[in-house]
Amino acid sequence: MHGGIKMKAILISIIMVFVFYSSGFAQTLEERIKILEEALKKQEQTIKEQQKVIEELKTEMKQGKPSEQQAVTPPKEAAPPLTAQETEKKSTLEQVQQQVQQLKEEVGQVVEAQKKNILSVFNPAIGLVGESILSYRSRGSNETGSDRPGGFDFNQRSVELNLAGSVDPFARGYAVINASADPVTGEATAQVEEAAIQTTSLPWNLTLKAGIFFGEFGRLSYIHDHELPFVNRPLVLDNYIGGESKTDGVQLNFLLPIPHYVSLTVGVGDQFGDTPNAVGNFRHFDELNFWGRASTYFDLTPDVSLETGVSGLWTPSEEDRGGVFVQPDGSILTERRRLVVGADLMVRYQPLRNNQFQSLTWGTELLYSDNRYLDNPTGIPGGPVFNRDVGSFGLYSYLAYKLHRQWIVGCLFDWMENPQNNADKTSAYSAWITWAISHWNQLRLQYTYTTHNALSGLKNDNAIYLQWAWIIGSHAHGWQER
């Protein structure tokens, strides 16, 4: 019941925002009025000139008439016919007068329209993304370790409200508010996924971002779920980062002032991904997260490009705040230090002439996790504990072929050593087909086969996903979407 009321409140809020939304045409109306007014002035000037010409012609005609004294009362003669030139000028003048009248009416209408009080004229750009996933998994969650049930499942994974706008001449702000189903209760909960300010005018090729945002690590960690090239985030990112690279902090990006593209990013913040996730009592500096990425790009040919980067994430200490992992053998591992390094590579063939209709993309990331855990082998609170360092590798690699503007087919290979136990290995093989009905409406059908080795205690399973993602409202093509 409580959850139902919450959901209604969220829906009503979203509807209220859209009722007052306008895409800020006031500025456009002002410009149009100005253009129309300028055109009107030009037309009026033309009329004056035409009238002057007609007056001159009339004067010439009068001067050419015979004297009245000479006539005995000559019969009334018809007015001399206008020459072809005079007729054309008269016709042009009438047309111009008509056009001026029409222009006056149009300007009047536009001015009246602009007088209306549009409350929403100062609203930011607003868009809403919805993402639904219908799935079937051959095994239950107790056998797969998934946070979604086995069998048939319908998951409204995202209802994402995006807001963006200029703060002032020096910065932009944006927010992403996402409502998704709580994995435990199934009820929709809204949370601020991102809300950050980003500078636009710093010198020395710097950009500073601060707030809640997805930190730049690798290539796909900071991409929202519905924008991934496949249905689910790769296993290695889910397990080593903890899903999206959400952080509360500050990030600085530097573009090297050289002709070749090299981008450097460093950041510091609290939480990164899913850990550390507890507030804690007193946070020392070494309990924050530090991350960085260096990336570069090459045009191998006009149609083939390569983008590569290296990333690092370091949480020196997670005292009392680290994630707690219960192992299959009953032992408990508490994360005390996190270190993840990664290398990413994307090679793309995208013929310039056909770039909307054809491309082939190979993307891959290799990660190494070197975490320290406090190991409680017995699992009994207060039992003997000792530090354990675990080094694990993981990677994903995918190939996506766009064979038409609307159709993409692809395959994905996942492989991962458990970051808590590197002898526990998982692989997944996926194939998908995406139908982009339009730019804002797409369906994706994906099959995934996941295998585990015996250590995890989990079972292999088959899964089919049908994902439907859609967008309404404003949709900007940010730098991340390249």
Partner: protein
């Protein structure tokens, strides 16, 4: 200490005086780049993000554009949100305050042009509409003169000491263009009232200028590929109205336009929408020459 010195060196190497030897211009599309070269001549160094073969709405956001834009003095764009699919992201990555939206170096070449086909709604049922009107005014050479003036004004404002040179170059180019416009207006007489369809709505300004009847588009809506029903309906209407020309822009696949042409008996022609879109159209004038010659040739060959 060595690292700090090297870092300072990198910063200094990147810094440049306010007015370097040449004015660095980045144009989004090749037509604006060509105009800028003609007006600026030796005083400018012009780069175009597009090469001419791309869809104007789908120029890829390549990181290799970023350093170029980072160093630009002026950014020339068509405007009317023509570049909405790639320019905002590139501007964000460029970190160049001079050329950000509405700054002095952000030159919207549509200023002064009254747009056609301003949509009543920007809801997506209408497709990927341009909220400020059809942006493809550069295919009308008379309206292109407004873009020339906007580029000229921007150059003069940026480097007033070269106003004399810019004025001479502009006037020389306008004289050349005006002569070509007069020539084209004579050449297009066979096109008066001729109906044609194209893949995307690139041609309303061109059709208006040269007296053609722009019958429709193969796309269902802007940015929405045609459905089978739409193709059948278009074919039926074209047969009733005896539409003789199907114009395909080279960035769209040939299959559907070819099928429509075959089923209606129309002549299929390929027309560039930017200089460089097809061979031998490297400049704006050459591109317009090609478009007009091809259209006139297609109509005359049917007679």
């Amino acid at each position: 200490m060595l690292s700090i010195i090297l870092l300072i060196g990198v910063f200094c190497a990147g810094a440049r005086p306010a007015h370097a030897a040449k004015i660095r211009i980045v144009a989004t599309l090749t037509d604006l780049a060509d105009l800028a070269r003609n007006i600026g001549d030796d005083l400018v160094e012009v780069h175009s993000l597009a090469t001419g073969v791309e869809d104007t709405h789908g120029v890829p956001m390549k990181p290799s554009f970023v350093p170029m834009m980072n160093q630009a003095d002026l950014l020339l764009l068509v405007g009317f949100e023509c570049e909405h699919a790639f320019l905002p992201g590139l501007l964000e990555a460029s970190k160049n305050p001079r050329i950000q939206r509405d700054r002095a170096g952000y030159i919207d070449c549509s200023k002064g042009i009254i747009p056609r086909d301003v949509p009543k709604s920007t809801e997506h049922y209408a497709g990927d509409v341009h909220p400020y009107g059809n942006p493809h005014y550069m295919l009308d050479p008379v309206l292109a003169k407004t873009a020339i003036q906007n580029i000229y004004n921007a150059l003069v404002e940026f480097a007033p000491q070269y106003q004399g040179e810019f004025t001479r170059n502009r006037d020389a180019y306008l004289a050349k263009l005006n002569a070509k416009i007069a020539e084209w207006e004579k050449e297009v007489k066979p096109l008066k009232g001729v109906k044609f369809v194209s893949y995307h709505e690139h041609w309303p300004y061109f059709a208006d200028r040269f007296g053609l009847d722009y019958f429709g588009t193969i796309e269902l809506r802007p940015g929405i590929d045609p459905t089978p029903r739409h193709i059948e309906e278009l074919i039926a209407k074209m047969k009733v109205e005896h539409v003789p020309i199907v114009a395909r822009e080279p960035q769209f696949p040939e299959r559907v336009p070819k099928r429509i042409a075959e089923q209606t008996g129309a002549t299929l022609i390929t027309l560039p929408i930017m200089p460089g879109g097809v061979p031998n159209t490297e400049t704006y004038i050459k591109m317009m020459d090609y478009i007009i010659h091809t259209m006139v040739g297609a109509v005359q060959s049917r007679k």
